[in-house]
């Protein structure tokens, strides 16, 4: 399906070949997910005649299918009401450590400094938040709001920045991406922005000075040319559902059974912008998750194909999965004893059960005595409440000493979609943008008339990830892009 949709080229068109513009606006927003809605609201509020062009039959995009967490901090009303102290500086220190290597400091700086204001903006545009904390490091299944979503309170981040929970879920039971997008699209619809749906934006139009001046839209079997007097804002998602792009940029993600995104995440906006001379960065980066809830299973130990532990099991599950996929080639096992064992929340059972660690090691096929050595070392210190290697929190440290012993098989090579025992993920690489949303070329020069936000760009999460960063930086930098485009001189 994706392939058919890519048959028409994303290559740039020249404005000289445009006979007549079918539509015009000051600001044209491509894509109506969280970044597009936020961009449109800001653009309208800044006085710009704004048009949203959306491929699907309505707003929402991948954002509407998301869990709904928004990463915000620095002392939001919810954080304060729940008794958590936070400052922009601690948030900055954490994100710089968690989102690297070498994430975009300028982006993270403004993201942290303006985070409380962004919370108030969301509330002002109808997004409700409850003043409550959910203690498990997972998207709250309740209508609670605040949760740890990046391993802030575990090693190594608890030694780098003062921990605070920063994922905020809009108030509804379970996943809140739908609610978030319902509120944001209602605000955008009500703002006066015009919206064209079932309209696939296919290419940018540039003038002879290489300024972006419009877009080519395919709608109702007709090509329509849309002029953008002040700017085009690309907020059309990432490329996780473009198999060829994933294969050439993130081959390990290509092997993950679940691609998190809608079919429209085919990278077209990225390709359109590249054709207009845009730079792309961190195209190899991806968010990855592996379903190992409930968190109490993290009393076990995760080992790689050499029987070695490689991470504190109590860290953010996305970090754990990224490490497992990208540094261990997707080869990992969760080892537990009978005192810890239970099937995962997603129905995954132990793949191997044996009366001794030696037998378990053999059954899995780990190197001789490797798992036994790792468990002996772990147990020796866990009995004292210590984890010299990875500093797992003491409450999750207990020796694995109650046979039989069991291993969950968490290998990429044996993913079992039937019980959801699968790696899932989406792309983090994309256009190189300034915090203003302006798109840069490979020389580092701004491309006039072009803006972008959300997963069409490389955002706050340059490599590492925390839950809530995509809706978080999508809405945040969507707004920045909307304002920038609206304030740009009209041509």
């Amino acid at each position: 399906m994706a392939t058919t949709k890519r048959t028409r080229p994303s290559a740039v068109r020249n404005a000289r070949n445009v006979g007549r513009w079918d539509l015009e606006a000051d600001v044209v927003v491509v894509g109506y997910g969280c970044a597009g809605a936020s961009a449109a609201i800001e653009a309208v509020e800044a006085g710009a005649d704004t048009l949203i062009v959306e491929r699907a039959s309505g707003g929402g995009g991948t954002s509407a299918n998301a869990g709904g967490l928004l990463y915000m901090g620095g002392g939001t009303p919810v954080q304060r009401a729940c008794g958590f102290e936070d400052t922009p500086e601690e948030m900055f220190k954490f994100l710089m450590a968690a989102c690297g290597p070498d994430p975009d400091a300028a982006k993270i700086r403004v993201y942290c400094d303006d985070s409380v204001a962004h919370f108030h903006w969301l509330v002002a545009h109808g997004v409700p938040f409850k003043n409550s904390f959910y203690p498990e490091p997972w998207e709250p299944p309740t209508d609670d709001c605040l949760t740890y979503s990046g391993g802030e309170n575990g090693y190594p981040f608890n030694r780098i920045a003062k921990p605070a929970p920063r994922a905020h879920k809009p108030q509804c039971v379970g996943s809140a991406g739908g609610l978030l997008m319902q509120k944001l699209t209602a605000a955008a619809d009500g703002s006066g922005a015009r919206i064209e749906c079932d309209a696939r934006c296919e290419a940018l139009v540039v003038d002879d000075a290489r300024r972006v001046v419009g877009v080519v839209v395919w709608q109702d079997r007709t090509e329509r040319l849309v002029r953008a007097r002040r700017g085009v804002i690309l907020t059309a998602g990432g490329f996780v559902n473009n198999p060829e792009m994933v294969q050439r940029h993130v081959p390990l993600l290509a092997r993950c059974a679940v691609k998190t995104g809608t079919e429209t995440d085919d990278g077209r906006a990225i390709r359109m912008a590249m054709s207009a001379g845009a730079d792309v960065i961190r195209m190899h980066a991806a968010e990855v998750a592996y379903p190992l809830a409930p968190h109490r299973l993290m009393r076990g130990i995760l080992v790689n194909r050499y029987g070695q532990r490689f991470i504190n099991e109590d860290t953010y599950f996305g970090r754990l999965a990224q490490e497992g996929l990208f540094r261990q080639d997707g080869e990992m096992f969760l080892i537990v004893d009978t005192a810890i064992y239970e099937p995962t929340a997603f129905g995954m059972q132990a793949a191997f059960v044996e009366e001794s660690m030696a037998a378990l090691e053999r059954a899995i096929g780990l190197p001789t005595e490797s798992l036994q050595a790792a468990v002996a070392y772990y147990n020796r210190f866990a009995a004292r409440g210590e984890d010299p290697l990875f500093h797992k929190t003491a409450t999750l440290l207990q020796p694995l000493s109650t046979p039989p012993y069991a291993a969950f098989d968490c290998r990429l090579s044996t993913q079992d979609v039937s019980v959801n025992a699968t790696f899932s993920g989406f792309t983090l690489g994309g256009l190189h943008t300034l915090p203003t949303g302006e798109v840069l070329d490979p020389d580092g020069q701004i491309i006039p008339g072009l803006y972008a936000a959300g997963r069409t760009t490389s955002g706050v999460a340059a490599g590492g990830y925390c839950s809530g960063l995509s809706l978080g930086d999508g809405t945040f930098f969507g707004r920045k892009a909307g304002r920038s485009a609206a304030m740009a001189p009209a041509v």
Copy 2:
């Protein structure tokens, strides 16, 4: 210095704005390193009027400063004379395993199938090879030719493909990059190709159909416009000496003290092509080396910051360094005992020396009992000639049991340039090309008139690396690009 050279934009120009072409040729080759020289020779031999444009005052580029190894196999005369059996299929299996994840199978296929023919082509163009084998897995300091350069005869590759040495060094004592380029530039000069030196190619010229029809050259403080009737071939190196590009694409390489390349490896050709709509892939990939010769030091064990081994120490030193940099964040130590210890060939001494492993572990700052556990495990099996974890070759397995014990500090964070104890590297990412040298856009479409080879492209080594692959695929695919461009219809 690099910054000044980048002040002029690499953005594409439109042919409509070209009043007069200052120079014309069928094929314009940008850059006169190994790929450019090979491209020019082939283009001329295919009947094309060919012009080479080179920034420096003469040919050679980074190739001339290289060790001179060329990765070739499948049964070359040198391999056969030295008693090594090899086939294109075994070479293919090895490169697919060593150059990933997921290297370009089509490129590797033709690289292996035509490798023997490529050897003969080099000989026919004056490059001498001696029928001799050098047993250390390192660039021969002698005038010997053949050597293992990718860990072919060690784990895991010796279980994937039948091992054969494939790095061929042209015959001269020591580094042979200079000799190689002397011969190739002599062949290119003698072929009838025209050469413009001290001429920096700055941008591509495209026509309204987005075909590449020429280049903009800056020479003697004058802009000169050069028409390419059949094609432009970009062979101008990678981007290791563009600090901004390295920082945004390969931040860990940015921290390496030594950047292997000439100052002209500033990524301009990549940026020029991107401005014409080219795709880039694997921009995060880099060759990395860490100087741990002589190989007998690999009787020690390499451990990460958790005191764990992470690789068979006898593998290719580049693979070891890539693992150490990208998967261990540049945190590694080489642990030896007195029976093994000697300073490295580059003068690096042990940073820590202690009478017991416990004391060494403390001195280094490794987690309690971690190194002790790793050494105890290693010693137990090494005494039997076994390495269950990483399958180091038996002749290098000996228990670390002769105190005092010592550690070389191989951390990125403590690089010591004064004794050359440094990570060095160069970039592997670049333009996405077909085996023909044709450059693709992000939709996977060929950009008419544009070709590329060498480190301006993502080549055989998509991620992993073997010594000899850059001169190897630069000359090989330079030739392919030269022939493709020469055979293209003239415009």
